[in-house]
Amino acid sequence: MQKIPLFGIKVVFLHFEKNRKAMCQTVMISNTVDRLGRRSYGHRMEVAGRNGYSVSQLARLNRELDGLYELIYDDWNTVTEADYESFGPQFVILLQTLRQLYNECRKAGDASLREEVKKLGMNYSALYELNSDIVNFCIKMPKNQKMKQLMKRLAEVA
């Protein structure tokens, strides 16, 4: 009977665990982005329709956006192009909706919303930056031919 090296199994298992964790994380991000996108759109409609939109609703949305930021920020520099394909388009839509919600809230001019609207602006700005960092540093930069040439030039002058 052939002996199976345990170390090999451990490595395969760890590799599987790592991939599974990355996949779960991507699915979780995708689901959260999708949910918050729909919720933000609903909030935007409420603000635009002057349907008694309350500060507690916006505060809750801000807390969830904070959570989304933490979720993505933890692993943003390991996001692959395939990962981004699964949540990127929804993320861009979420950003557009948040921007529209921010503008609607400002237009509504409700003084009780002021602090939360400011937080919404900060959240939009933070998520916008995170999306740009993923696109620029994780997806575009490794493929940027000019950067590759510069890195070669850098090795020569170093």
Partner: protein, 82 residues
Amino acid sequence: MLDDPRIIIKLRLPDKKHRLSKRDGYRLIYLVYKDREEVVFLDVYPKNGPMQQLDIPDEQVVELVRQYIDEKERGELIPIEI
């Protein structure tokens, strides 16, 4: 650029003067040599305020590295011991 002996890092820094967290403070862009003890300061900008910059496109990072190489070739840079 993870397989390259040099890596470009974007670091989030807090702005204590204006009580801003790392998320809303300054951004520091620098280049690190993984094979020797050397870091190169490339750029710094605020995330908020009148001079705010929301993000940094890849072409701008390319330009920063190009400037650094040009200045290094011309011998215009001063090494600082940290």
